[in-house]
């Protein structure tokens, strides 16, 4: 299939055209951050570097309304109360512009949790079916990037509907899915010069360097599970904030709360974070994950042990619930590096 050409100056126009049929989320610069924002007139999508936040919010919003409820007292018999429930509105078709291959791969890993555990999450499923990813292939690896450790790559097509490659004057757009092809229909095909440039790019992709063999990570993690000294040292600097989990394209833990206001209210689903002291805090006051050490162990374990155990891969390389986007490293106020924790697990779990 011939790629289509998206000129830099045509980007805002095509985005506006897509925004007519979709809730379009596009990355924009705001202060020092690059964030996905709903499309607005005069918006300038910024595709120059990976956004600060991940595209997870398109599929799993930070807060979503599961239902609204209203209580009504029976005036004749005040011991009787009726409750009326209303479901949220159906999902709008959504298009994420300017995601990165690591973001797009996050879709598959969220699917595992919300669609492939026997019970399907209807809200997630509806949103998932109605969401398209127009991804920008990466030209370079930042110091925090490690997508190639976990089965991805700077040009990985997995999870994307369209992949954009930077070429002179704009992007060569390659449709990955049928829906992606339809999105690109209004664009002209690339000329021979750009075609050549694209071919050269695909022939010599950015070389991410060697990746460590993580296939033993799950078993070595379990060997170190009870070694609290190890986890205390790994977590001593952790602030227990939510930066890593909230920016992560695959962290899927959520909380459900009722927000009452008089005789009515909403039931909300909200991102949760296993770094918080409130995570798994039980009604009795007991918390099985009582310290930062327990909680950091949970984050690392979930990604590099429990997920691969629950969803065994067909290949020798386990599937981790980490796409190696590196946001947890880059934005961590104290530079906790999940790569070095995993490498320490591989090394120390071998000895114990």
């Amino acid at each position: 299939m011939v790629a289509r050409f998206l000129a830099t100056e045509a980007l805002a126009d095509i985005a506006a055209a897509w925004a007519r049929d979709h809730r379009l989320l596009a990355p924009v610069r705001e202060g020092a951050a690059v964030l996905y924002r709903p499309w607005a007139k005069d918006m300038h999508p910024f595709l120059g570097r990976p956004p600060t936040s991940s595209a997870k919010e398109a599929l799993l919003p930070q807060t979503e309304n599961l239902l609204t409820y209203t209580y009504r007292k029976d005036r004749d018999d005040l011991t009787r109360t009726e409750v009326f429930l209303a479901e949220p509105l159906p999902q709008e078709p959504t298009l994420v512009l300017g995601s990165r291959p690591c973001d797009a791969r996050g879709r598959k890993l969220l699917d595992r949790v919300f669609l492939e555990r026997g019970v399907k999450d209807p809200l997630y499923e509806a949103r998932r079916k109605a969401t398209l990813f127009v991804t920008v292939a990466c030209e370079r690896l930042e110091n925090t990037c490690f997508c190639h450790w976990t089965g991805g790559g700077p040009m990985s097509e997995e999870g994307s509907d369209v992949l954009l490659f930077a070429v002179s004057g704009g992007f060569a757009a390659k449709a990955i899915t049928e829906a992606g092809e339809q999105l690109l229909a209004p664009l002209p095909e690339v000329g021979p010069q750009v075609q050549e440039e694209l071919a050269a790019k695909l022939a010599s992709p950015v070389e991410p360097g060697p990746a460590p063999d993580l296939s033993k990570a799950p078993e070595r993690f379990l060997k170190l599970f009870g070694d609290m000294d190890f986890w205390m040292d790994q977590s001593a600097r952790c602030l227990s904030c939510g930066v890593c989990t909230y920016l992560c394209p695959t962290c899927s833990c959520f909380n459900i709360t009722d927000e009452n206001s008089g005789m009515k209210g909403k039931r909300l689903r909200t991102w949760d974070t296993c770094m918080s002291a409130l995570y798994t805090l039980e009604g009795s006051g007991h918390n099985p994950r009582v310290s930062r050490a327990h909680r950091l162990r949970n984050r690392v374990g979930h990604k590099f042990c429990y997920h691969p155990q629950e969803f065994p891969a067909a290949t020798a390389q386990p599937e981790f619930s980490c796409t190696g986007c590196g946001r947890c490293i880059k934005s961590c106020p104290v530079s906790v590096d999940i790569r070095s924790i995993v490498l320490d697990i591989l090394e120390k779990g071998d000895k114990s």
């Binding site: 202060g31 951050a33 925090t144 205390m232 001593a236 227990s240 904030c241 709360t257 590096d337």
Partner: protein
Amino acid sequence: MAADQAKDARQAELRASVISELPNVDFVLGYAKGFDPLHATPITVRSEKDAARLIFDATCVQNLTTGLYGLKGKRIGLVVKGCDSRSVVQLLQEKLVERSELVIFGMPCDGVLDLAKIRVRTDITQVRGAEVTGEEVRLLLPDGPKVLPRRDVLADKCLRCRYPNPIVSDHLIGQELTPQGAEDTYADLDGFEKLSPQERFDFWKRQMSRCIRCYACRNACPLCVCKHVCLADSRDPHWLSAEATLQEKWLFQVMHALHLAGRCTECGECQRSCPMGIPILLLKRKMNRELKELFNYEAGVDPEAVPPLHTFLMEEDKIKDRGQLW
């Protein structure tokens, strides 16, 4: 180079000093190299091997007194810069830590880097090397070297620093420095204060719309000691809803600033930790300016002083309405 030698000598002195105290403490909190040349990361030192990883340079931005309150009962060694020592003083004043439980390794410091300032000047996501001299920050980037004037990329607090030498310490490492900063006039707030209340509120609405409620600002604050009884987390009373609305985000920041009035030493960790780059230190500076004008008080400077909001006078010098009410 002489500067390098001085830095190496200071690091060696720090390591030796830490090793000498290891038998007397549970562990020492210090800095080690992080994932790239511009990032240091805090470590716990329990052995001589750990101590060999200790560094001290302009990348050692974190305030290691954060979380100290939670370690009460343990004997902790702590590497502090001048500014960080003010947090220790404040914690001592509020009796949140015991002086006898701390072994402080004081580092005279001539400034740390503000990576946010470097990022607006150059792309550091692939930085390969960094060297800080008296005048310059020399970066090694994939497409060659890049030199930035050091003063342009130092943290704001360093540019006005009056306490380069730790106010409290047990081991002073290296030479004391001559303070360069003048009295803080809070002149940087003047422009903001000239805006109308509506303009100021619009500014904060724009800024706070980026907030993801990760609470890095709160958790990075050495003086946020409420832990999980924080109003932001409390369900009963239900101060904040779980919704990620502007109202919830803003209410938390206002409460944070109010709770820190007269306590905040402006270490800047709240703002530095924000993944969204929200300038929340501005709120705390505003509170501190008011405190300075009302009570002529500066937090974390004198271990014997009583913070003004921890006490009261029947007749305050600069609060006049009391007499009228009587």
